[in-house]
């Protein structure tokens, strides 16, 4: 009895049960939708379960890492990520016209995925170092840390990831207290530089934006995804067509229906009622993350927790926005629901950090 208690204690000591329940609930939803989206493909559902188990294990491991250790990891992880990104630029494999993957013999990896965690970690670490009195040059330094890898990712090109990473970096800057004047200035500059941005964009990227503005311009080409997913969601109505009864999904009218567009499958089969439940589940998880963030004790933990939380929100909003046709199509999975191991692991790694922040004794800088 005592043994079992010990094991239970060992397993749950650094786990935030509130957050875990929320995550498991969303994962369950994910498996149910995936079963339908893959046409009752048990193999793929099991595969996703394995992904989830691995991701949960990673989360548990990370949750067990004391924060001092985590801080020490920030710089090496960032530098490793940067080296790998340079490696991609030099020796990367070209796939679909983009150079995103690096073959490291054993397997192929996508370093930009690592950077999703490494950059906020690095920036949070950086701000923690200069914590006492943050000055403009500190923000500039952090911005350089952010832009270096972002530029490399843009070159691949991978606009979606670059934007998401920039966003997660911006969250760190914002939460660290970047002056409002600079934020407004940046916003104005960004708006002003949009035309310039337009000219350097790749054709397919421009097309995606045009398509967003008017999907009917190219209903069989670039607009097809948006139109079909809007149809799926809209035709679901209030209560949906029922599990495994979504015609758009089951008859393959939806693109990428188990990965990026899985929300359309869910929405078609469970309707607005399902969407409400799903959004509430997400809000629950986000709420818990915010509480953890608000209670974090150090600059480093606050910033990293804030960035992870807000990035999680960004994923949800961007994915649902693109699937429902109000944002351009960028390759962003729906967190905890979309099929795929990498994003699942990255996501739970983030939650592991949050759990570690919540459950470890408040630390001091060494």
């Amino acid at each position: 009895m005592i043994e079992i208690k010990k094991i239970w204690h060992f397993l749950t000591r650094y786990v935030d049960s509130f957050l875990l329940i929320g995550i498991l609930a969303l994962m369950a939803v994910g498996l149910v939708v995936l079963y339908s989206a893959t046409g009752a493909n048990i193999a793929r559902v099991s595969n996703q379960m394995i992904n989830m188990l691995i991701a949960l294990a990673v989360m548990w491991l990370v949750a067990n890492i004391p924060l001092q250790q985590m801080m020490r990891l920030a710089l090496p992880m960032y530098i490793l990520g940067l080296i790998l990104l340079i490696g991609v630029a030099l020796f990367g494999e070209i796939n679909n016209g983009a150079r995103r993957w690096l073959n490291i013999g054993v397997t192929r990896i996508q370093p930009s995925e690592l950077m999703k965690i490494a950059i906020p970690l690095m920036m949070a670490w950086y701000f923690d170092k200069h914590e006492i009195a943050l000055r403009l040059r500190d923000y500039l330094g952090a911005t350089v840390l952010l832009l270096l890898p972002v530029l490399l990712i843009l070159r691949q090109p991978d606009l979606g990831t670059a934007i998401l990473i920039t966003t997660s970096g911006f969250y760190v800057l914002f939460l660290a207290g970047l002056s409002w004047r600079i934020i407004v200035g940046l916003a104005v500059t960004a708006a002003g530089s949009l035309p310039v941005f337009w000219t350097v964009m790749h054709d397919y990227q421009r097309k995606r934006i045009i398509t967003l503005l008017d999907p009917s311009q190219d209903p069989l080409g670039a607009g097809y995804h948006t139109i079909q997913s809007s149809i799926a969601i809209g035709s679901g109505g209030v209560t949906g067509k029922g599990w495994q009864n979504g015609t758009q999904a089951q008859l393959d009218f939806l693109p990428e229906q188990s990965t990026d567009f899985i929300f359309a499958v869910f929405s078609e089969e469970f309707g607005l009622v399902g969407n409400t439940v799903l959004l509430l589940l997400y809000l629950l998880v986000i709420g818990r993350c915010l509480v953890i963030t608000a209670n974090a004790s150090t600059q480093f933990t606050r910033l990293i927790a804030g960035s992870i939380t807000l990035t999680f929100c960004t994923y949800i909003v961007v994915n649902m926005g693109m699937v429902s046709g109000i944002l351009p199509i960028v390759g962003v999975p729906l967190p905890l629901i979309s099929y795929g191991g990498t994003s699942m692991v990255t996501m739970l790694l983030g939650f592991g950090i949050l759990m570690s922040i919540q459950t470890h004794p408040k630390l001091v800088k060494t």
Binding site: G177, S235, G236, D252, S267, Y282, L283, L290, G306
Partner: protein, 639 residues
């Protein structure tokens, strides 16, 4: 404990406050974004739900038309004239194939594709939209189907389809009546759209183009059914959701007697011409010959260039429906109607006779209008004028009647206007009048014009169908029945046969005694002394008729017609109108034989064959041998 103190120290309240404020802003922002998302879902799933539901249904439900089987066509005795058969066809969708030529060559290695097939396909290709499925070969054998099935993966865009195809077993014998169906072209589509019938033709590949197939298209086509098929994004059918079975077209039973038609065909031998035989009791078309005919099966799948050139370029003009659309001067077959006009309008009595010097001149004019017989016929009364076909009698009669009397009286026999037969394309011919000449040529009518009209020449033009119609009206004592080819319609669903009632347009009032005079004369035409005596010899029934000759080229004043000197194609056409048995007519007809000279010698014998078959059941034989020697002088009736 020390740790905690330090921690508290580092957690400056102001700093923490600032952080929490910023975090709240972010949280608020996230909430707003979620609300926007929720608003979007609300818009899509509540406000626009119906719209998107419709789109989703349109995505998945493919309405697949089911083509109804076309109605069959029978003759009056139940012999089949147009039928359907199921066959497998090899079809190609050009838009799905990159190199059509190469694909055809490859196909030819496993399935026989003749040069004719290729030509036909090429013509079809030019006339069709590229996404339509076009047949390359039809009537594939089981072996060919198996061979293709094995090699199918090599030929994307090529498919074997089960089709119901049309066939006309009698080919050229009835081609001018039945016509044909052929592939629906752009004009047909426009027409269908205008008539709001397009929905009934989704999936149909063919439509009636000419003949019965065209005029009874509505009856024959049937009503399309459809299947709602659930399909996936790749277009594969998943399951049938609902099915409305098509209603096959109705069967047509023609008044045509195929046996009689064959007898008439045979009687023509190798000659070109036309014959229309009507039932004087109701206007039913018993035979409707236009020679030469053509193989109407060639047109169904689209005719190949070579065959088209052969048919369209032939000097014999096999595509020309002579019975319906060929206009010829009626020649002396016009005389019985002139005679009736004379009696009815009181310009001549049966007893009146005149002396025929062999020509006629208008008072005060030098020009002589010659009779066909040099020196004339001696004393001629109305009876004799018909029996020997005296021209002079009618020249003088014409002058007394005047053109407008001729026009209005003879117009009652249907000359100069369409009979209203139930196939399209009929022409009206021409029965001239002074008003017509004024409007056509801005010239007044001359007395001389009437002279040539009186013997069926001049401006006079009639179709064989019109002449048969006019003859029918004499035979049945004035009843103008609309000629019709379709006698009955059989409902495809119930099998019930509906009779199409005879339609009498009007009746021509003629005094019985006047009619009797003319009819008696017409009987004597086929008796010894008459112009058709040879054809009428030993007939087992009384046989009334009138010979005629239709001029192809005008003979100048002072010249004689010399058959031998004239190009075969410029020789006169032989005409004959007749009915039998004279006392109770069961059949009335008009015969035209092109470029064979006189009616008595070539056209009348054909009529005799047809009557013998129809009334006695006697099999026909070629009535007239190919013209090799000039006709004997004694029965050469010219003009």
């Amino acid at each position: 404990m020390k740790q905690h103190v330090e921690l508290e120290l580092r957690n400056h309240p102001a700093e923490l406050h600032k952080f929490r404020f910023r975090l709240s802003i972010c949280a608020g922002f996230v909430l707003i974004l979620f609300l926007i998302l929720y608003a979007r879902f609300y818009y899509l799933q509540i406000i626009q739900q119906e719209h998107y539901y419709t789109l989703a249904e349109a995505n998945r439900i493919f309405i697949s038309p089911l083509v109804p089987n076309r109605g069959l066509i029978y003759d009056r005795n139940g012999r089949i004239l147009a039928q359907n058969y199921s066959a497998y066809t090899l079809e190609v969708v050009p838009s799905q194939i990159q190199d059509l030529e190469a694909t055809l060559n490859e196909l030819a290695e496993i399935i026989e594709i003749t040069p004719t097939d290729r030509q036909r396909f090429k013509k079809l290709l030019k006339e069709s939209k590229r996404f339509k499925s076009l047949p390359v070969r039809s009537r594939l054998t089981d072996e060919e189907i198996a061979t293709f099935a094995v090699n199918r993966y090599r030929f994307p865009g090529v498919e074997i389809k089960a089709r119901v195809l049309r066939q006309y077993p009698e080919k050229e014998i009835v081609s001018h009546i039945i016509g044909y169906i052929s592939r629906i072209n752009d004009q047909d589509l426009e027409q269908l759209e205008r008539n709001d019938e397009l929905h009934n033709y989704r999936g149909s590949q063919h439509i009636g183009k000419i003949g019965i197939e065209q005029s009874y298209e509505k009856q024959l086509h049937g009503i399309a059914g459809f299947e709602e098929v659930e399909t996936d994004a790749a277009g594969r059918s998943i399951r049938v959701l609902s099915r409305t079975t098509p209603i096959p077209g109705n069967n047509l039973i023609l008044s045509l007697d195929l046996g009689l038609q064959e007898a008439a065909e045979k009687a023509f031998g190798e000659h070109r011409g036309a014959l229309v035989a009507l039932d004087p009791n109701n206007g039913e078309v018993l035979a409707f010959v236009s020679k030469p005919g053509y193989d109407n099966n060639l047109f169904i799948g689209g005719i190949d260039q070579e065959n088209w050139n052969l048919l369209n370029g032939s000097i014999d003009r096999p595509l020309n429906n002579r019975a319906l659309r060929g206009v010829y001067p009626p020649g002396s077959t016009f005389k019985p109607f002139m005679a009736l006009a004379a009696l009815e309008l009181g310009k001549r009595s049966p007893e009146y006779s005149m002396s025929d010097p062999g020509y006629f001149s208008l008072p005060g004019v030098d020009r002589r209008y010659r009779d066909w017989k040099r020196g004339g016929h001696g004393r001629v009364d109305l009876h004799k004028s018909l029996v020997v076909s005296c021209d002079t009698y009618y020249y003088s009669l014409a002058n007394d009647l005047g053109i407008d009397n001729i026009h209005s009286f003879i117009g009652q026999f249907g000359l100069g206007r369409r009979t209203g037969i139930d196939i399209e394309g009929e022409v009206a011919g021409l029965l001239p009048s002074s008003a017509w000449k004024m409007s056509q040529y801005k010239q007044k009518w001359y007395a001389g014009d009437t002279i040539s009209v009186s013997i069926g020449q001049g401006y006079n033009l009639a179709t064989p169908l019109q002449l048969a119609f006019a003859t029918m009206i004499i035979a049945n004592n004035g009843k103008a029945y609309v000629p019709r080819l379709v006698k009955q319609i059989q409902n495809s669903q119930t099998g019930e046969i509906e009779d199409i009632p005879a339609r009498m347009l009007y009746s021509v009032y003629m005094k019985p005694k006047n009619l009797e005079v003319v009819k008696n004369a017409l009987v004597d035409v086929t008796r010894p002394g008459g112009t058709a005596a040879k054809a009428g010899a030993n007939a087992a029934y009384t046989f009334a008729g009138k010979t005629g000759t239709s001029q192809v080229i005008a003979i100048k004043q002072g010249e004689r017609y010399n058959e031998k000197a004239i190009n075969e194609r410029h020789r006169d056409h032989a005409m004959f109108i007749a009915y039998a048995p004279a006392e109770n007519p069961k059949i009335a007809l008009a015969v035209l034989v092109e470029n064979t000279g006189t009616g008595g010698s070539t056209a009348a014998p054909i009529a005799r064959q047809v009557f013998d078959y129809f009334l006695l059941g006697k099999p026909a034989e070629a009535a007239v041998a190919q013209l090799t020697e000039p006709l004997a002088d004694h029965d050469h009736e010219h003009l």
